[in-house]
Every structure is written in C-alpha cells, then in structure tokens.
Symmetry: C2
Subunit: 176 residues, 2 copies
DNA sequence: CGAATATTTCTGTTTATACAGAAATATCTG
DNA sequence: CAGATATTTCTGTATAAACAGAAATATTCG
C-alpha cells in the first residue's frame, strides 16, 4: 500500500494531533492508515507503508486494540493477522472516550474522593484546600454522570441532540 | 509555602493527568499549586514549593497564562509579579477547552476541508478516501458547531443541562 | 543614574519515550 | 514433528522534550 499525497497529509496531521492529546504519534498514524484503508491490512504492510519497524507496529496495534477501535480479522488462505479499523466515526470517538474516562477520569475521581474525605476531617483543619478539592470533585462527579447517561443513548439520538445545539436550552426553558 | 501530604497527593496526580492529556507535567503541577493556594504566589515561591528551577516556572506560567486560567496580580509594596489561578472550576475547563479547540480542532477542521475538497475532485479518483475524509469532516463540523453554541450559554445553564443527563432526550421526545 | 531586584531568554544536560533490530516464542503447514 | 512463517518480547540506541543554571534583559527604587 502506497499513500497518495492526500492520504499522507491526513496521516501526518492525525499523528501530530494524536501526539498533542497524549497518543503516540505512530499509534495515531497507524490508526489513520487503517481508517483510510478499504480493506484490512497486515502488520508488515503497515510497517512498509509508514516506514517504521515491524515491532513498533505490533505494539501500536496492541494499543489500538486496547481502545477497541481496531480488531484482528482473518482471511481464508492467509496466515497473517490482518487489522481493520472501525469506520463509524461517532462510535469510534465514543469508544476512545470510554477508554480515556476509564484510564484517567475514574482514577481522578477516586483520588478526589479520597482527598476530600481526608481534607474534611476536622483534624486536618485546612478549610480552603477542602473547599477547592470539593469543588473539583463536584465537577468531575457531574461530568462523569453526564457522560455515563448520554453514553447509553444511541448515536443517532446523540447526533440529533448535538444538532439542536443551544436550542435545547431554549426548548426546555432553561435560561441562558 | 509547604505542601501538606494531602496537597502533594493532588498536585502529583494533577501533574500526571496533565501529562496524559499532552500538558507538561510541571505546568499542570504549578496549576494545581495555584488552584489550592488561597493567595497569589510569586514565581520563586512556586519554584521552592515544587523544587524546580525558576526558569522552568517562568515558562510554565506563560503557558498557563496562554490558557487564560492564570493571571498576574500585583500587591502594593511588593515588586515581584504574583500569580493567581481562576477558582471557578467550570469556567476554568471552558477556557481550557476554548484554547484546545483553537489549537487542535480548528486546524484539523481546516485540514479536513482542504483534503475533502481535493479528494472530491473527479481527477483524484479515490472515492473511498473521499468518503472517509468526508465523514470525519462531518463529525468535526458538528462537534465544532455544537461547542460554539453551548459555549455561549451561561455556566449555570450548562450545569442544569448536564444534571438532566439523558432526561433531555426524553423531554424532547428524541428516541433513544 | 546607578544599584538592586526581578524576569526572560539562551544553552547545554538530563531524562523519558519512542523506536529499531535481534532474539525468543508461538503458530501454522505439509 | 520438522520446517517455515508470523508475532511478540526484549534490549540497546536515538531523539525530542523537559529542565537547570547562566547570561542577558528589563524594571524598580533610592
């Protein structure tokens, strides 16, 4: 597989953006290649396409599988593992968010619950810290609950809601 | 300023989480210290508290000011710049999102518009790539518009909406 | 205006991550 | 089960980011 200039532009940008959000550049590039590929690719093809080592591809694919957005598929008469990427963009981002919430937000929630609980003991005697930590905890709790609830909605329903934008507030009579 | 064990726990966690989201560890730690501090701190105090170099603090504070969540304040009879952090958690995250959208999402939107426009030329003749890029573009356009619209809402209104969670869809009769 | 203090910029070093290539392991096929 | 092929793990190296400390610049005050 050889990338066209157009595809290269997307792949490089995607890698760059991934890096800014704490996702390894190569991981993001591989994701981009698989996203654009009309057929599953094997690891060696990916390594050749991007000019990176086979082992690097192997580890990066593991990472992408950890996000549940890439999976192994097998073709009859082909011994190699092949990889395909989820093509539904909405579903893809929802899966990525699921995982990042699990890895980063949930532990933060736990930490905040612990520190708030400790800070609010009268013996600690640091009301200001307690108040700040508690406000942060409230924020994370609310966001977490909001995410969990909207997560249960179907993608088309979420899209419809997003399209309404701030009209939602007006329709529900929630003052700006 | 010396951090209590409790404060250390928060500061270290915050630094770690920042790093996972592409924000420099020290930048996030300084943010955490300022967030917990009931009074503005000067750069040297911060450097001492965290045990990092003065220059490092200087650059990190610039970064935080770039996010508009930290600002310089002056006290009468004090020559040094002092820094204070926004304490309203909601407003803080909204400002961070503003900036990340500007730095990362907007350029991605631009890239996608360019590549889609190019990919859809008949001469390019790669219908599959064009379709994938276009779907990604639709997603980013929708999210971007949604963000811009909800951004105009007041924080209390956003909070009320979040608290409703998936009830919003039910109230509006949007099927799950 | 000169001394003192504060801040930023610059430069070299350190450190953590990303990575390649080799080695080891696993899997398939005849 | 032996040979071939595919995959993963391991280890050392390269690279880019983070950082400290020094130097340069700016600001304040007597």
């Amino acid at each position: 597989m050889t990338l066209t200039e157009l595809q290269k532009k997307f792949v490089l940008h995607w890698g760059e953006m991934g890096a800014r959000w704490g996702i390894n550049r190569t991981v993001a590039q591989i994701h981009a290649v698989l996203y654009l590929s009309p057929r599953p690719l094997d690891a060696e093809e990916i390594a050749d396409t991007l000019g990176v080592a086979r082992s690097n591809v192997s580890n990066s694919l593991k990472e992408l599988q950890g996000y549940n957005i890439v999976r192994i598929v097998h073709t009859l008469g082909e011994r190699r593992d092949q990889f395909e990427c989820m093509k539904d963009v909405w579903e893809m981002f929802r899966l990525i968010l699921d995982e990042r919430k699990r890895r980063e937000c949930d532990p933060t929630l736990q930490m905040l619950r612990e520190t708030v609980s400790e800070a609010e003991k009268p013996s600690t005697g640091d009301a200001y810290t307690a108040a700040r930590l508690n406000e942060m905890l409230q924020f994370f709790e609310l966001m977490s609950n909001w995410y969990d609830q909207t997560r249960k909605m179907s993608t088309p329903a979420v899209i419809r809601l997003c399209k309404l934008g701030d009209k939602v507030a007006k329709m529900l009579g929630i003052a700006g």
